[in-house]
């Protein structure tokens, strides 16, 4: 009876470890999938922003809100919160508001430092030059993000599946070692 209980307990523990391992693997895999997806959305919204600025001549706070439509949280927050800060405080410059929002939101996204640098660099000129120049800067940012996206897709193909199986297999290895 006692022997049977201990076997049951061990079995239960093993199942737990395997589940946890699998979960870790999936979470890791999801971060790759999310990153490429968020990058794609970000590029779309920058395209939209470019149109609003260059052809629509929309004022920047409105243009930011319009470009955030169709994007998901937390990414859309970068645009809406910046617009909000500009409308409310009136004490921050555009660059400061942009920077502050990105710092706040970044932790909740699957994006990395390189993309952050691209956006921050773009924030230093956003709004404050003529339409032609704005277009150039926005296109440059899109180009840079696109190359990040291509890399992200490649990484996703390579590592997402790997992590999914690696999590489970790793957990099984641990279980075997422990037995």
């Amino acid at each position: 009876m006692i022997v049977q209980t201990s076997v049951m307990l061990k079995l239960f523990g093993a199942v737990l470890i395997i589940l946890a391992g699998t979960a870790i693997g999936f979470v890791q895999a999801a971060s790759y999938v999310n990153r490429s997806k968020q990058l794609r959305l970000l590029i779309y919204s920058l395209q939209r922003l470019e149109t609003e600025i260059n052809y629509g001549q929309t004022f920047l706070p409105t243009a930011l809100i319009k470009s955030s439509e169709g994007m998901e949280q937390p990414l859309s927050k970068i645009f809406t919160e910046t617009a909000q800060l500009l409308e409310d405080s009136k004490e921050l410059s555009m660059q400061e508001a942009w920077q502050q929002t990105i710092e706040n939101v970044w932790g909740h996204t699957a994006l990395r430092q390189r993309e952050k640098d691209v956006l921050l660099r773009m924030g230093t000129v956003l709004g404050m030059s003529d339409a032609e120049d704005q277009q150039k800067h926005l296109q440059l940012a899109q180009l840079q993000l696109k190359s990040e996206e291509e890399q992200a897709v490649m990484e996703q193909q390579r590592y997402a599946n790997m992590w999914r199986s690696l999590g489970t297999l790793g957990a099984i290895l641990i279980v075997i070692l422990m037995v």
Binding site: I53, N54, Q57, T58, F59, L60, P61, A63, L86, K90, E91, S93, M94, G127, M128, S129, D130, A131, D133, Q134
Partner: protein, 330 residues
């Protein structure tokens, strides 16, 4: 009145302007902000520098020096963070903000084919405070009616700069449009080439120019007058600062259509105005029924109304009075 201006100033400048004495605030005409140079205001026709505590001084070294960052923030707020949407305004060199205040800007110009396309590296701002003086035209308005049918006469208002021409013109517009005099509200149209009369922000007038008033904003005067004649069937057209050949053509066209024109022109007095060939031709053709000379003093506006008929008659009789200036002008 200063609310809209306080609103766009960066924090440090906002504090300084708020500390100015009430007396100065009431008569503030300009705030001049130049990057890293003394903060200057003009009021009552004189100028002062302003210290960090909001005191007015005459020694520029004691004055507050706005920083580069403050200037950048000011520019961002004036343009609503969207310099790219202000290309037209930058080409003209000033931006009109809510409340009708105009902000002149100076910096390095961008040229394209020899013409100014815009301004970058903006380092100087001149905030001109616009004041709406309701009732400024009260005394003048009844005197503009006359002639055989006792109707409104086409009028040319002449005065030196800074004497309140635009303020008077704006109030005339408002009064005609509301029908303040004789209860006959007229259809009024403004060609506001420099966005000064109605001070439109995105097409909506900042000033009360009356319920029956249409504004063609930022439009060349001659073209605007023609467009309004065709599109808005006005009874009166209001236009600022005439003087070019095209303007004269458009005014003649308006006269043919039976539309009255109230226009202003830069000149110290009627002799000087008569010296300008386009204006002289218009007067000789009797495109205007009367001329108003405007001066401003402590009490308010001073004006002298001259009937064009009588003036030309006089000129013919003692042909020496205007002929001198005529020669000088041509």
């Amino acid at each position: 009145m200063l609310d809209h201006i306080i609103h766009i100033l960066p924090y440090e400048l906002k504090t300084i302007v708020n500390q100015l004495s009430q007396h100065i605030k009431n008569s503030l005409e300009e705030i001049r902000i130049r990057e890293n140079r003394p903060l200057e205001i003009s009021h009552h026709g004189s100028f002062h520098y302003v210290t960090e505590k909001g005191k007015t001084v005459l020694d520029s070294r004691q004055a507050y020096h706005p920083t580069q960052e403050q200037c950048r923030k000011l520019l961002e707020r004036i343009t609503n963070y969207s310099l790219y949407a202000m290309e037209e305004e930058l080409r003209r060199g000033y931006i009109t903000i809510a409340g009708g205040h105009r902000i002149g800007i100076a910096g390095r110009t961008i040229l394209e084919g020899g013409h100014v396309r815009g301004i970058r590296d903006i380092g100087g701002f001149n905030i001109r405070i616009a004041r709406e003086v309701l009732g400024a035209s009260k005394q003048l308005l009844p005197k503009l009616f006359g002639g055989p049918s006792d109707s409104l006469q086409s009028t040319l208002i002449i005065s030196p700069p800074q004497q309140g021409k635009t303020t008077l013109l704006r109030d005339l517009t408002r009064a005609l449009s509301y029908g303040d005099y004789r209860k006959h509200a007229m259809k009024v149209a403004i060609v506001d080439e420099r966005s000064e009369i109605a001070a439109c922000v995105r097409g909506i007038p900042s000033f009360d120019v009356g319920p029956r008033t249409d504004v063609m904003d930022a439009c060349p005067k001659a073209e605007g007058m023609m467009m309004l004649l065709r599109s808005m069937s006005p009874e009166v057209i209001i236009v600022d600062e005439i003087g070019r050949v095209e303007d004269a053509v458009a005014i003649r066209e308006a006269a043919h259509c039976g539309v009255k024109v109230i226009a202003t022109a830069h000149a110290y007095n009627i002799q000087e105005a008569f010296g300008r060939s386009e204006i002289r031709t218009l007067l000789q053709e009797r495109a205007f029924g009367s001329v108003v000379e405007l001066k401003r003093n402590e009490q308010g506006f001073m004006h002298r109304i001259i009937s064009v008929d009588r003036m030309l008659e006089q000129n013919r009789q003692n042909h020496g009075f205007f002929s001198l200036t005529k020669k000088a002008g041509s």
